[in-house]
Each structure stands twice: as C-alpha cells, then as structure tokens.
C-alpha cells in the first residue's frame, strides 16, 4: 500500500463533521502555524518541493514568494476548485469527503501569505459540494478557527465559498478572478500577474484544492519530510482520477514514482482493463495533454519504464511523451475511435472558448467541424494537413492556455494515429456506424490503409 497523506482519514466515519475531524488531529496545523513566522511556512512549502496540482505543476512555495507584500494592499488567497478539465474529478472527492482538510489548508496558507480575506471558487455544477463547504466553514467559524483574533493569536481571517456557473475557462486563474469579481470569465493579459494585481487589483495567490490540502501535512511534518516522499522533483503524493475502459475507475492517492503499468493493472488502483481488452491509448493528465499510443504508455521512447511523475510522463517531449497535468487519467481500449474522441475534445474546447482571442474562438470551431466531417465519412485527404495547420496557428497565439489546450490533443492524435485519420477518409463506408471499432477494432483493418494509395 502506498503512503497516503491526503486521503488517509477519508474513510473515518463522520470525518465530514467538525467534531470527528478535530478528534482525528484536525486543525493542528493551524495551531502550529500561528506560533510560526509566516515566511517560515513559505520556506517549508518551498523545501517540500510541492508543485501546483491543478495542471501546470509550478512550485507552490515559489508562487507564494512572488506575492507583493511591500505595497501594503490587502492580500487574498483564492482556492481554485473550478475543476473542469475532462478526466479530472479529484478535487471534488477531497471537498466532498473531507471538507475540513481544505479549510484547514486555507487558514494555514492564508496566514503564511498574510491574507485576511480568502475565497474558495467552486464550479457551479458542484452545487451540493458548495453546500458541504458552506456548512464546514460555518462550523470552523463557530469553533474559533475563522473570524477575528483566531485562537487568541491576533490573526484575523474571513473565508467564503464562491460558486461559479458553468465555464471551464474560469479554471484559468485570471478568468477565475474576473468571475469572482462578478464578470464574464475572460482571462486577463499578463503581466501584471495576480501576485501583484489580482482580485480587485490586490495581490492574490490562486492555488488548486489539492495543493492547499497538502499544506497542513507539510506544516506538521516539515517540508523536508514531504520531499522524501515521491521521486526526485516529483515530491509527495498525487491524486489521480482514473476513468475510461478500466475495471476500477475512481480517485487514487499515489506516491509519485510508481510505474504506469502498475497503476493501470494493480488491483489497488485501476484493476486492469475492462473485459481484458487491449490498451490502445492513454491521456494521463486531463484532456489537454497529448494522447499516448499503446507502445509509449508503459515504456518511454528510450525504453525505460514510464513512471507516474511529472518528469517521466513528459519524457520525450510532445514527440513521444505527454504530461502529468491535473492527474485526469483516461484509459482507452481498442474499441475507441481516436478520430471520434479527438472530435469530442475539440467540441469541448470550442464550447468552452471564451471568444476573446480570434485564433481560439474561430480555430476551435474549425477543428470541431473538420473532425466531424472526417468522422462522418465526408473527410478529404487534405483535411489532415488542414487540421495540423489550424492547431499550429492557435498554439501560442492566445492570451490564455486554452488555445494550447485545444491544439495539443489534435496534434498528438495526428502525430500518433495518422493512419486512423487516413482510414476514415479512404473508407467512409466502413465508419458509418459510430461504434465502428467495437465490432472491428482498427488493428484488424489497419492493413487496408497502407494498401490503398490516394
């Protein structure tokens, strides 16, 4: 069994309530933190090597150290609980089953940053989780962990939950801030970064739920202890939300460094493939990251074991690697149509583009439409080049990373599964049924593609 530091208490009956959480050592990190210097907590988080768990993997302690403390403006910590990346459902699990852990982390982290007013921004669809958090926050206030002069320390903190209303883009931190200000979720041009000018133009840090939930353990045990867990620069544990064609989908806490092969096949985690069908592809870190074909899942291109770490999953760059991302781990078997799945992702990004930047607003629509016609047997041979061309013109040309996120899945699908696109264009009769690869997986018909010249 791997070590658990986030979900170790999740199965204790009644852990959702303040009393049970407190009896099991809850809020001790706040007691300890209040006796420490705020900057010493930031140092511990730096030492821990904790990297942002929302997807980008930026070191949390370093992000904290950027916050402007000189201007004297009020500072804010905002927790990003707008979990919307397809394949990702880990933060929901934490908030639903052990809500006080996030609140404890918010208090400890807010103290470190010198914030007196902090927010948790949760996606609107998680409305029942919003209510769970509201209740837990009320309990924390009632027990003196929030409000004025917390536990006689002289430190004041107000914490509230703010609910969104269905917009993937609000997971981007500046769009999230706009939304928190009661506006449309249009990302801001950076700089200035939120650490200088964020919520209401005040210095602001935005961190993912899982990142903040790791802080209490780091404060209690020290950053150096945290850094001993995991492998090299991938320190600590990571929540992985696994879905797709696996026997045991769900949320798992892993020690970083186990192999991908173990994660997919061990009964402790995914439990292997449904009906023992062959593994065809993997999206290891949420829909935005490049899809990996079967031969690059268990081994890197260099032939070493592929591990569940930031470094190993990105080994080989985009040519032969991917990213750990948010830990949204989607497994596909041989009945999956890569063209249809890529179209599905493109539809998502088209729907979720905020419309601010032309390459993303128009380009995502083009990607969706062209993929749809290929998937429906109306594709042309030159469409594959056209797709490549469009995605390359979105990437890097937008204010926020949604444009990149829309481009990468298309590029990776063409890079690794080009023959499948060609098959759709050349054999329109064979792909009429949307479940075309269920009866006859692509591996059975692949030989047709190379025989037929254009």
């Amino acid at each position: 069994m791997g070590r658990k530091i986030l979900l170790d208490k999740a199965n204790i009956p009644g852990i959702k309530t303040y009393e049970v959480y407190r009896e099991n050592g809850g809020y001790k990190s706040v007691e300890k933190a209040l006796t420490m210097q705020p900057d010493d907590i930031t140092e511990e988080v730096k030492t821990s090597g904790l990297r942002g768990r929302g997807g980008a993997g930026f070191p949390v302690g370093m992000k904290w150290s950027f916050i402007d403390k000189k201007s004297g403006k009020p500072r804010h910590l905002v927790c990003n609980a707008d979990e919307s990346e397809p394949g990702t459902f880990k933060d929901r699990y934490l908030m639903e089953y052990i809500p006080h852990l996030l609140i404890e982390g918010m208090i400890t982290s807010s103290y470190a940053l010198g914030c007196n007013l902090s927010y948790i921004y949760i996606r609107g669809e998680y409305m029942w989780v919003f209510k769970i958090l509201e209740k837990a926050i009320k309990e924390a206030y009632a027990n003196g962990w929030l409000g004025k002069n917390i536990k006689g320390s002289g430190y004041d903190l107000d914490l509230y939950v703010h609910v969104g209303a269905g917009a993937y883009i609000c997971g981007e931190e500046t769009a999230l801030i706009e939304s928190l200000e009661g506006k449309r979720g249009n990302p801001r041009i950076k700089p200035p970064f939120p650490a200088i000018s964020g919520l209401w133009a005040n210095p602001t840090v935005v961190n993912n739920v899982e990142s903040i939930s790791a802080v209490p353990w780091i404060v209690m045990n020290g950053g150096a202890e945290y850094a001993k867990i995991g492998l090299e620069r991938s320190t600590g544990t990571k929540l992985i939300s696994a879905s797709g064609h696996i026997k045991n989908p769900g949320v798992f806490e892993i020690e970083m460094g186990i192999t991908v092969e173990e994660f997919i096949n061990s009964d402790e985690y995914c439990g292997g493939m449904i009906d023992d069908r062959p593994l065809k592809a993997l999206v290891p870190g949420g829909s935005s990251v490049p899809i990996l074909p079967a031969h690059l899942i268990y081994k890197t291109a260099a032939g070493t074991d592929r591990l569940m770490t930031y470094e190993s999953l990105s080994d080989g760059g985009f040519a032969t690697g991917s990213m750990l991302g948010s830990g949204g781990f989607i497994v596909y078997n041989d009945t999956t149509c890569i063209v249809r799945n890529t179209w599905n992702f493109s539809r998502f990004y088209h729907h979720e583009s905020c419309g601010q930047c032309t390459p993303c607003r128009e380009g995502t629509g083009w990607l969706e439409k062209i993929l749809w016609r290929i998937e429906n047997g109306q594709g042309r041979e030159e469409d594959i080049e056209l797709l490549w061309n469009i995605q390359s013109k979105i990437e890097g040309n937008t204010i926020c990373p949604l444009g990149d996120a829309a481009s990468w899945p298309v590029a990776a699908a063409i890079r690794h599964f080009r023959e499948e696109f060609e098959y759709h264009v050349r054999f329109p009769e064979k792909i009429k049924d949307r479940n075309h690869f269920v009866a006859e997986p692509f591996s059975k018909v692949q030989h047709l593609v190379s025989k037929q010249s254009v």
């Binding site: 459902f89 669809e125 609910v163 993937y168 009661g182 797709g244 829909s287 539809r347």
Partner: protein, 176 residues
C-alpha cells in the same frame, strides 16, 4: 438582446432576500457586484430555473449595477437559462470519458423514451434531455445532472427509475 414573450412572475421573498444579503456580506461593502453569480443562482432557483430580462433587471437593482452587467454574465455562463426549461432537465455529460462509457446510447434511449429530440421539452413541460460538457464525474460515467445533484453510473434501468421518481415527485432539485 433576446426577448422572451413569456412573462415571468417576479417574487423576491423575504427568505430569498435574507439569503441574498448573506451572500452580499461575503464581499467588501464596495464590491457588491462580486456576489452576482451566487445571487443569480439563488434567484434562478426560486423562479422556475430561468431568468427573464425583467428578473435580471431586478437583480441589477439589488446589486446596484447596470442591467447590462447582469445580462453579459447570464449569457456567458451555461448554467443560467434565459428561456423557460422543463421542470426536470436531464443534463447528460457527453465529453470523452462519458462517451467512452456509453452516454451517447443512453441519451438516444432517453430521447426515444420521452419522445423528444435533444434540447426539446416534452409537451407536458416535465422533461428535457440536454447534452453538456464535462461535469467532473468521469469515473462514474455515464451520468447526468438534475438540479443541484448528480445521478451517476446510470443504466437504462436506473434512468427509467429516475423518471418514475420525478413523476412521483420524489426528486428534490435544490437543497435550500
């Protein structure tokens, strides 16, 4: 601006106003606008799950902002409805992980069972089948959202049961 011909009765009850004021209190006194999205949820829930232009204007008044500031937000976020919806709107997640686990078949089943196309409302105003993007329930697919709650790991049988429960008024849409 889209104008609905259907009149919406506006009723900001005392209980609703108390809740709105509680939400406003979560933000600094000069940042009332920040409460807009949480307030819109409460107001929509209390008004048959949609927001007419008149109702949006009422929200603008309450928050001391311009009607356009409300309208531009309502039209940006998918959870706000500018037209009346069915009493029970089944929002199926149709993104990759759910598609992989059979949501397309299930949505077709739902449509044929209820005799509607995607998006349409049944003639009695009771049901509607809608496809939406990722709801963050990828491991529990196929699934749908109904009001404030998720119904996960669905099958045709459990979906049938859900319809029966709706008809029997056993389903709560909002937790107030």
């Amino acid at each position: 601006m889209e104008i609905s011909n259907i009149k919406q009765e506006i009723n900001i009850t005392e209980a609703l106003m108390t809740r709105i004021n509680e939400l406003i209190s979560h933000y600094p006194a000069d940042k009332k606008k920040s409460a807009l999205i949480p307030v819109l949820h409460e107001v929509q829930d209390a008004h048959d799950n949609w927001l007419s232009v008149e109702l949006q204007q009422k929200v603008a008044e309450i928050l001391d902002i311009l009607p356009i500031e409300v309208y531009e937000v309502v039209t940006f976020y998918t959870m706000f409805n500018t037209k009346p919806i069915a009493k029970y709107m089944f929002e199926f997640c149709r993104t990759s992980c759910c598609a992989t686990r059979g949501v397309e078949d299930l949505m077709e089943y739902a449509c044929s069972k209820l005799g509607v196309k995607e998006g349409e409302i049944t003639s009695d105003g009771m049901f509607q089948v809608v496809g939406v993007e990722c709801l963050g329930a990828c491991g529990y697919a196929p699934m749908l959202q109904l009001g404030d709650f998720y119904h996960e790991k669905l099958s045709k049988e459990s979906f049938d049961k859900l319809i029966e429960d709706c008809k029997a008024e056993k389903i709560t849409l909002h937790d107030k």
